[in-house]
Amino acid sequence: MSIWDRLRGKREPTSRQVARQRLQLVLVHDRAKVSPQLLQTLKDEIIAVISRHVDIDRDGVEVTFTQSKRQSRLVADIPLQGGSRRQK
């Protein structure tokens, strides 16, 4: 990044910001005792179960953690496929 980028207000994140972001993620996973791999497995299985009953946008599915204070929660965001129900 050149000094001009910085003068125009662009800057790469500071090491403090990077540390804070990395810790946020690490702590959420540590607290929930859930690894990124497990999160992926959960996502795959949720997609399998839900799509047996409803038509969903598989690529749009997101399974994430959120936290407030010391409470973490698992959030699944599952977009439905637009239009009419598919006939099998």
């Binding site: 910085r6 540390a19 990395r22 946020q24 690490v26």
Partner: protein, 267 residues
């Protein structure tokens, strides 16, 4: 009123538990409290040298637990503060020589005669840690503003919560305001937000800690040491006083912003 038991612990080793125990115990005694400092780091005895009392040890914690001496015989009176005592750890034994029940029994025997019992915990999450927190009324978790130390502190907070020890406080040690201003160190607010427990002290990085450890005279006894001042403030907060946090300037000033702009990429 019977003594309150404060245990100082951490997830990561070397973040300042022994330093904090020696200084908090000294500062409390300086404020007129009757204090016993207990070294629960069995096998890695250190509190004695940090307090400068290593030459006077005859008996230790394990001798008391195994009945080779009375509790009072193992307690060493401080050279400078007449209301401060040390109960040293054994150096040649391991942590299994003492159980959490032993610690509870021992502190119960001390409670009626003192105001504070401050316990120095070993690092980690095993027997030694369980021994140290078993009798605690309040647990002070100490961390440095670094990724690995904060992560390990979070683990410990989780474990302490699982033990249903409700009262936990955070001490941030070795803060470098200059680095925070350069945005190269986690700020106090970052650590407090991440760990989500109450802050009870911010101790700056201070070379006087090394000098005072060399001399075996805790920094809390020295008026010119910034860390010593921070520990005296923690002692007063523990005693229930509402002491404002020391003015440690963490936000960048004009010159810091210019320096950041010019310096370019950081390592």
């Amino acid at each position: 009123m019977p003594a309150r038991v404060l245990t100082i612990t951490s997830g990561k080793g070397g973040v300042g538990k022994t330093t904090a125990t020696a200084n908090l115990a000294s500062a409390l005694a300086l404020h007129g409290q009757r204090v016993v400092a207990i070294d629960a780091d069995i096998g890695l005895r250190n509190l004695d040298v940090v307090m400068g009392l290593e030459n006077r040890i005859v008996y230790d914690l394990v001798d008391v637990v195994e009945g080779r001496c009375r509790l009072r015989q193992a307690m060493i009176r401080d050279k400078r503060l007449s209301e401060l005592y040390l109960l040293p750890a054994a150096q040649t034994r391991d942590k299994t020589a003492v159980s959490p029940e032993d610690m509870v029994r021992l502190t119960d025997e001390l409670r009626p005669e003192f105001d504070f019992i401050v316990i120095d915990s070993p690092a980690g999450i095993e027997r030694g840690f369980k021994n140290a927190i078993a009798p605690a009324d309040e647990i002070l978790i100490i961390t440095t503003p670094e990724v690995s130390a904060v992560r390990d502190a979070d683990r410990i907070i989780g474990l302490v919560e699982a033990e249903e020890k409700e009262t936990t406080y955070l001490i941030i040690n070795r803060l470098r305001p200059d680095m925070v201003r350069r945005e190269d160190m986690l700020a106090t607010s970052d650590v407090v937000e991440l760990l989500a427990i109450d802050l009870i002290g911010i101790v700056p990085e201070d070379e006087y800690i090394i000098i005072s450890t060399n001399r075996g005279r805790p920094a809390a006894l020295d008026n010119s040491s910034p860390a010593g001042q921070a520990f005296r403030n923690i002692a007063r907060r523990v005693m229930g006083e509402d002491v404002p946090f020391m003015a440690i300037r963490e936000s960048p000033g004009f010159l810091d912003r210019i320096a950041r702009l010019v310096r370019g990429r950081r390592i």
